[in-house]
Symmetry: C2
């Protein structure tokens, strides 16, 4: 049973609301669905409203015993709404109260759902009616008429009823307004799939439609049994599929609302966003505060804006954020999710702007840091355009699809984790932002700083190290660009109360030998086992980052000691042991090995390896099946600067199927990705 | 009967397309709905495709007699498609031709509708098949495999069919692709109103749906009987309302398409806009050319972009247009509509940025200019936020709702017209731009210059004078702002080949005495009749603009002479006569008089009229009923600088009904809009 609606009927003195309410209730009360409220007033009984007259002493006694749901003073009188109203609303009865605009804001906090009906009439009609009533002098009447009315809070449902004709017509209009607003429609699932859009189908002859035009008028909210959904309205012709008292929902919308067919629901016009003025200010080029961004973000997430307004706002917000505003955006984002409390003074994290082939240091950094005793709850992404992602590589030996509870358990047990971020730290705002901004091809580095750090804050981190690879093919093109964005990272971190250290790194080529899930896991294993064959660039980069991270620990204090400590932990086998511990806690998966089929790509000219286009080689690994096929990839055999003879292996392609291997080999035949030549000639 | 589809099947040598085409047609041809094309080739008959072998001489004879719909050379051979294909397409039969990617662009111009089906296979499969065929050496085969394929023109319908399994499966896939693309669905009107959105309902189990996912994948085009519509897709569950071969349309979309139920229609995925790359460049902050804007505007008008992308583009285009780009936008807009040819060396127009109460000079300027002998086809707008618009005032004495033919007739007959612009000069682009940018509250002055002048160009004007009122309440706040925008007007005019003169004018107060349709018409009449009671400011402003306009005439040459000539025409009564002539040609309406009921607002303090807030007085006129009530308005009795006593009339409110008159009077009682006081004290 949905709650009843609290109707507050307001309007200027003389507008005739007492008469209309009395007459409308005279017709509606016998249905049992409407109950009048007798207001308690410190005024003698008389013509007009049927109130309960009490003395001032009695009024004050009731006030003191909490007998009013709402109490106020006006025109030298004291008013109260009896608390018994609550029972009617809970029982599904609509309550109709005579009230004033001034009390709307207070009532909106006390009763729910509240619908305000304003009775209006032309001013000269008002003047005549008040004078006729004879309670005020002419001067008082004029003063009353000239009084400015208080604006209503923006989000209150407001319906206007004009009482500018006969009493009969005014009564009829008020009844129509009450019935339309309280119409409970029975939910129907219509077998139409509309995808992302929620569509509600209203019979074109229903009461709700009769009183107002929902079509092309934005969205409406369906509310019932404590759940709600926002939908666009389509109108079904009378007698087609829907009975007058029914409301249809498209299949997906029906599932999203999650209520059984036949459930009574109310419909409401979706209120216009409160933040529109702020949004316009940003569009006009002004700077906004944290609070402003928070309000706008909330209205966006609650689907109150058409897509075009969101797009225009995001374009400005992404292209024109000064430093202070990036902090404001980050802070606003932090207000949307509770922060995880790890009950530890230091919780560290590492983030990489990514885009560099290989470079799988996370699987080495996390166990070393955890082995030292710092908490490091790391979440990582899967590959999108690369041959593998950190989550893909971890998943080649352990479960990564962890729940928040799993993450908590694994981290409290072992000190660290390497989980897939897909289901953790999910931001509905980012879903909307990405859907709208990706087709626009926007450079969103500054906006991303706010996005990344607010997620670190939410995850409970206190200290964050950011890997900022720069190079001609990386996101950041130059050291200067990396330093500038790094400065912003540290500044915004400070704004959120985080210690952030941004570290520019060489992003001109792959780090490690393997490109592809299984091969990268192999590289990680070699480093953790201190195998002499381990790729030294991967080991070095991992140790450098651990050194930075351990410098946050009071017992370490600086990166030199941190780096030394990192080497101790790695050399001692403690890191490898910790990695096994974390794997076991997340859930063991038998490690995946590189593909059985292989093809060696060899040098066709002798000389020095002058350059390796790691992105082209990544393309070859993907052609071989990576990252979907975890066994596929490319294993580099030569490094930049190596001297190679004709026929010397440059790399080996691994794949699971002949077709993929041949396709990748054909790509490599056309272009190996290696530039081999005379070092002096090219210099 | 919709035309058949021309299917061009392409694919690399060895991909197996001959076999698949032969087998698919073996199954489909007996239905009568598919016809194979026997290509004419200068090659002996042999294994593979069933072509018509001809000698080079015969090929050249046919080429010379126009026997081919398309002819080309490839691999040392000559190919031709027989013209007879046209008959099959016209008879609704689908034609299936073996072809090459290189010929797609040429074919797209020659046959319609064209659908390209590309057969694909992994490269090693291709190599084996070509070698097996034994027509080429190993080196030739490798060269062929390494050859880069030509990209397809962006807007060609392309379907890919993988032939990487058995011949049976490949054949089945090709048949499915042909059937899906040529599926004719029978149109059904569904009794659902969806407002502005066009919704197409596809049965979830139809062939068209089976072969591809339309849902959430953007829009699709319905094409049939020479008409088409773009719609979003919803899927109806099987056996609900729609039979498998039917496609439903929402009510409004059905009406927009305008075809009877049961009409066979084809569906096509709406192609992605060609201009997306250009649009992204503008969003990234680059400048665009006329051609780029034209392409983008066309794709916007053709509904190829989601609203969010249009919004982001417009925001940049409106906020970041340099001078040259305003010219580019104006030129691009001009390419959308043919220009009216008046066959006259000089066609003049006058435009006002508006926003100033009163200032109805157009009704004086047009008859004087026309009486001098210059063509002046003037279109004007109705009031939106003011007490009247030029079209409203003209409509108080003549028809203004003219068709383009009416305008031509009236102007050729009388030399001028004053028509409502609502149905003339309509721009679908502006409809979209306004719908998206208005809620964003954008300042669009620079963009408007392009919009206004492209409309003048389209209307056939050669010389334009622009009235640029500036003042604290006007669109332009200062003389500097007016001069700057005026410079842009003149520059953009030059870019379009128009002579434009922008004239800053005082926009700090109303021009004329009346505010409201009938009162403003009265002012115009007083000026045209040379009545001594005529408002001199209105007369002066009109004469100044006529002077500017007449200076364009070779027999006048400068504004001094122009001004003198204007006075002659006005004083002689020739202007009044011309106005009557224009009224008669447009269609006479008995002139509307100011409202019978009136209320005089008087000074309550003595002193000098220091200031008149014309915008507040406009509000009073609107409260009295203007502009919907043409008789309503405010008639000013005192001007700035006048000395008034207590009780002296400031203005008279006119209305048609007591209620409106009293409401307006009440507003005036609260604030007259006049500041009266001691001139010296305030100085």
């Amino acid at each position: 049973m949905p709650r009843g609606i609290f109707f507050l009927v307001v309007g200027a003195s003389g507008v005739g609301k007492d008469t209309l309410i009395a007459r409308a209730l005279g017709e509606l009360a016998p249905t049992g669905r409407y109950v009048p409220v007798r207001r308690v007033i410190t005024r003698e009984a008389g013509p007009g409203e049927d109130h309960e007259p009490v003395s001032i002493a009695e009024y004050e006694r009731r006030l003191a015993t909490n007998a009013f749901i709402h109490a106020w003073d006006a025109h030298g009188l004291r008013y109260g709404l009896p608390r018994a109203i609550e029972n009617d609303l809970a029982a599904g009865r609509n309550v109709v109260a005579n009230g004033s605009r001034a009390s709307v804001a207070a009532l909106a906090d006390r009763v729910h759902p509240l619908v305000v009906i304003e009775i209006t009439a032309p001013k000269e009609v008002l003047r005549a009616r008040i004078l006729e009533r004879g309670r005020e002098t002419v001067a008082e009447v004029e003063a009353r008429l000239a009084r400015e009315v208080a604006p209503l809070p923006a989000r209150v449902d407001l319906i206007r009823v004009a009482n500018d004709s006969t009493v009969e017509e005014g009564t009829e209009r008020l009844i129509a307004a009450l019935e339309a607003a309280s119409a409970r429609m029975a939910l129907r699932r219509l077998p139409i799939r509309a995808g992302r859009d929620n569509i509600a189908y209203l019979p074109a002859n229903s009461t709700a439609v009769a009183s107002s035009s929902y079509l092309d008028a934005g969205r409406m909210d369906l509310v019932g049994s404590g759940r709600s959904i926002r939908a666009n309205v389509n109108l079904a012709e009378p007698d087609w599929q829907l009975a007058p008292g029914e409301i249809g929902l498209s299949l997906e919308a029906f599932d999203r609302l999650g209520l059984p067919e036949g459930t009574p629901v109310n419909i409401r016009r979706t209120p216009s966003p409160d933040s529109r003025d702020l949004l316009r200010r940003k569009i006009a080029g002004q700077r906004l505060s944290t609070e402003a961004y928070e309000t706008i973000f909330r209205d966006i997430v609650e689907d109150r804006y058409p897509e075009s307004e969101v797009a225009a706002f995001l374009l400005k917000a992404i292209q024109e954020l000064d430093d202070e505003e990036v902090v404001a955006v980050a802070r606003a984002r932090c207000r949307f999710m509770p922060r995880i409390d790890w009950s530890a003074p230091i919780v560290v994290d590492k983030h990489s702007l990514g885009g560099i082939p290989g470079s799988r240091i996370t699987l080495i950094v996390v166990p070393i840091v955890a082995a030292h005793g710092l908490l490091i709850p790391k979440t990582s992404s899967r590959a999108i355009t690369s041959a593998s992602g950190t989550a893909d590589v971890m998943e080649a030996c352990a479960r990564v699809d962890l729940t928040p509870d799993d993450v908590r358990r694994v981290v409290l047990e072992t000190g660290g984790c390497i989980a897939w971020n897909g289901r953790l730290n999910h931001s509905p705002l980012d879903d909307i932002v990405n859907a709208i901004t990706r087709p626009l091809g926007l450079d969103s580095n500054r906006w991303s700083v706010a996005s990344i750090l607010s997620k670190k804050w939410t995850a409970g981190s206190t200290h964050v190290v950011v890997d900022m690879p720069y190079g001609p093919r990386a996101k950041l093109k130059s050291l200067a660009e990396a330093l500038e964005l790094g400065r912003l990272f540290e500044l915004v971190g400070q704004g959120l109360g985080l210690t952030v250290r941004a570290i520019p790194t060489d992003g001109s080529a792959a780090v490690g030998r393997g490109l592809g899930v299984a091969l990268e896991l192999r590289d990680v294993g070699l480093v953790l086992r201190n195998d002499p064959a381990a790729p030294q660039d991967l080991r070095e980069k991992a140790l450098r980052f651990v050194g930075e991270i351990l410098s946050f620990a009071p017992d370490v204090g600086n990166r030199i000691t941190g780096r030394r400590r990192a080497e101790e932990i790695l050399s001692s086998g403690a890191a490898a042991a910790k990695f096994e511990e974390i794997r076991a806690a997340q859930g063991l998966i038998e490690p995946i090995r590189p593909g059985r089929l292989s093809h060696v790509v060899r040098a066709t000219t002798p000389g020095v390896v002058l350059d390796i286009d790691s992105w082209h080689v990544t393309g070859i690994a993907r052609r071989a099946g990576a990252p979907a096929d975890k066994t596929a990839g490319v294993d580099l055999a030569a490094s930049k600067g190596d001297l190679v003879d004709i026929g010397a292996p440059l790399y080996t392609i691994h794949a699971a199927a002949v077709a993929e291997l041949e396709a990748a080999a054909a790509l490599a035949t056309r272009n190996t990705g290696f530039t081999v030549g005379d070092a002096r000639a090219s210099a």
